[in-house]
């Protein structure tokens, strides 16, 4: 068997964003070592500059429609991959800006923090392009290794170490399940590329293999019953890492889930719809009910995140092109609202060194801006019009209605009511309760940028969603063959806003 590897300039172009980021993270690491007196904040801005370049490159890919596959279809660049890469790079930029103040508190290894964040972002960019089970395994592990270290980053803090341990054990366990599942699928089909493993018959090996792969990806997105690491890891990890962990890997894992379910498993849709409906109902209900009892804002957002993942799984369960669009749009709304909420938690945590919900009492008196921003983000997460979360939920429910998943929609609507309760408890504490310490809070410029970006995104997607809808509809064009009844109309005209 001869093996030739030829890469033309056009092939390398497809890898340009990843190569840029690779070079840039080496630059950041070298600068950290070579210039010990350089203030570490500069490394943050240097990282953001590099990521901005990568973002510009990706936007160019998207506008010019550059695409193709590399390395025997292992690596694919299409509109879907570019969408998720923009999502990941955008999240990373905001997370790094939100980290600047927090990293000043570290006693050691301030510079390496930015390197590890960039490294995880690189891994997730590759995840978005993974088109084969081998690249799924490697890229998933690649991005997770950075997170293992980041979660346990506060060496002197036992909670951070413990969070790192729990994340690590469950993470490697999930990796074992993933690898074994892949080996079974390989055993049944002899192939690993997503489009090649679309087997016509469901043999036991294939079923068990895909269930194991789904379990591993379920760990990654934190869907019930694979959620057990989420609350503890989110609670113990440094807050900017929690924010990063709650958004970017979810997006990257959904890129893989969409490709797996919509390409490889399209023929078995009746079988996996039940699986996804179950996971979705469990995630929404469990996340929202347990969130009510939380006293710590990071744990509250962790459980709310589990519930949000349940909502996104509705789109996957719909299994149509419109379901895919809705997932992408929902992820965008989730990015702005959740990252914004975490930015407030980071800002308040930096100032008062506490993440207890009690300490948000009277936040409105201490900083009207932070309280108002938190109000907007929580209402968007709950799905109140005219904010982004409302359009996201509406879009996902419409996709489910087309497929007749009425039970799922009923459970989803009940859950919106439940979630409203615990979000509003936080709002009540911020606006009505008296502060124990009325001294005003001030926030730094980079943090302000993150909060303003979150507010702008949440309001823009809520009031004028049409450009974003057009973008996500274009990103999933390759799934048009999964046409449900509604897919005949290419653009969705929502009753409000657009």
């Amino acid at each position: 068997m001869t093996f030739t590897l030829t890469l033309s300039g056009a092939d390398l172009l497809l890898l340009l964003p990843e190569m840029l980021l690779t070079v840039w993270l080496c630059v950041v690491l070298t600068m950290d070592f070579a210039m010990p007196r350089l203030p570490k904040d500069r490394l943050a801005y240097l990282s953001v500059a590099g990521l901005a370049g990568v973002l510009a490159n990706l936007v160019w890919f998207d506008l010019a429609g550059i695409g193709g596959t590399l390395f025997a279809h292992m690596f694919v660049v299409d509109r879907l991959a570019v969408f998720f890469k923009i999502f990941i790079v955008g999240t990373t930029i905001l997370v790094i800006l939100a980290s600047v103040d927090y990293v000043r508190r570290f006693r050691f290894f301030k510079g390496e923090y930015y390197f590890l964040v960039l490294m995880s972002a690189l891994g997730m960019m590759f995840m978005a392009s993974a088109n084969d089970l081998l690249s799924v395994f490697i890229t998933l592990e690649f991005s997770t290794f950075g997170f293992y270290v980041l979660v346990a980053y506060l060496r002197d803090d036992v909670a951070s170490n413990e969070a790192g341990l729990k994340f690590f054990i469950l993470g490697v366990f999930a990796a074992g399940l993933l690898a074994y599942g892949i080996s079974l699928v390989y055993g049944e089909t002899g192939k690993l590329v997503f489009s090649d493993i679309a087997s016509p018959s469901a043999t036991p090996g294939l079923v068990i293999g895909f269930l194991l792969i789904f379990a591993a990806l379920g760990f990654k997105i934190g869907a019930v019953p694979f959620h057990s690491w989420i609350p503890d890891t989110y609670h113990g990890a440094p807050t900017p890492v929690t924010a990063f962990l709650s958004i970017a890997p979810k997006g990257a894992a959904f890129a893989i889930l969409i490709r797996m379910f919509f390409v490889s498993l399209a023929a078995f849709k009746p079988a996996w719809v039940l699986l996804l409906v179950g996971a979705s109902i469990l995630s929404m209900t469990y996340g929202n009910i347990v969130a009510i009892a939380q006293r710590n804002i990071k744990r509250l957002l962790a459980y709310s995140g589990i519930a949000q993942i349940g909502n996104i799984l509705i789109g996957l369960a719909a299994g149509t092109k419109m379901g895919g669009d809705a997932i992408l749009f929902y992820l965008l709304t989730y990015l702005f609202a959740n990252l914004g909420a975490f930015a407030i938690v980071i800002a308040v945590g930096n100032l008062i060194r506490s993440d207890e919900i009690e300490d948000y009492n009277g936040l409105n008196r201490r900083s009207p801006f932070l309280a108002f921003a938190m109000l907007v983000f929580l209402l968007s997460l709950a799905g109140v019009p005219p904010l982004a979360g409302f359009i996201g939920k509406l879009y996902i429910f419409l996709a489910a209605i087309d497929e007749g998943l009425y039970t799922l929609i009923a459970v989803g609507l009940i859950n919106i009511v439940i979630s409203m309760y615990y979000y509003l408890v936080v709002v009540k504490k911020m606006y009505i309760n008296e502060p124990t310490d009325p001294s005003p809070l001030t926030i730094s410029p980079p943090m302000k940028v993150v909060v303003y970006a979150g507010l702008a995104g949440t309001l823009f997607l809520g009031i004028y969603p049409q450009p974003a809808i057009n973008w996500v509809v274009a990103a999933t064009l390759m799934f048009s063959n999964l046409a449900g009844p509604a897919a005949a109309a290419p653009t969705l005209v929502l009753p409000i806003g657009g």
Partner: protein, 100 residues
């Protein structure tokens, strides 16, 4: 010649041993070793199937799985050392600060 099914049965036994080890053992090092067993079961499967299909893809996967396993141990041991410094123990039951 050993039939394919023997290899698959062996790999299932090794994999289940690994899963049970992760779930019931309390020592972190043993848990880490159990995860290695799970990955090695994968490798047995891949090599056996690769030979059966006369297809090189499976063997390529084994090399990557070995690399990932090695990297996992490096990161895992670093976390375990950090924990050992603060708690002088590597028993998972000792780590109950956060509600599990």
């Amino acid at each position: 010649m050993v039939p394919l099914s023997y290899y698959v049965i062996l790999s299932v036994i090794v994999f289940v041993t690994g899963v049970v080890g992760v779930l019931i053992r309390r020592n972190i090092i043993i848990i880490l070793l159990s995860v290695e067993l799970m990955l090695n079961a994968t490798n047995i499967n891949f090599v056996a199937y690769s030979y059966y299909f006369q297809n090189i893809t499976g063997q390529v996967f084994v090399f990557f799985a070995l690399t990932v396993a090695a990297a996992e141990v490096a990161v895992g041991l670093a976390i375990i050392i950090a924990l050992y410094r603060s708690k002088s123990s590597i028993n998972v039951d000792e780590f109950q600060l956060l509600k599990w």
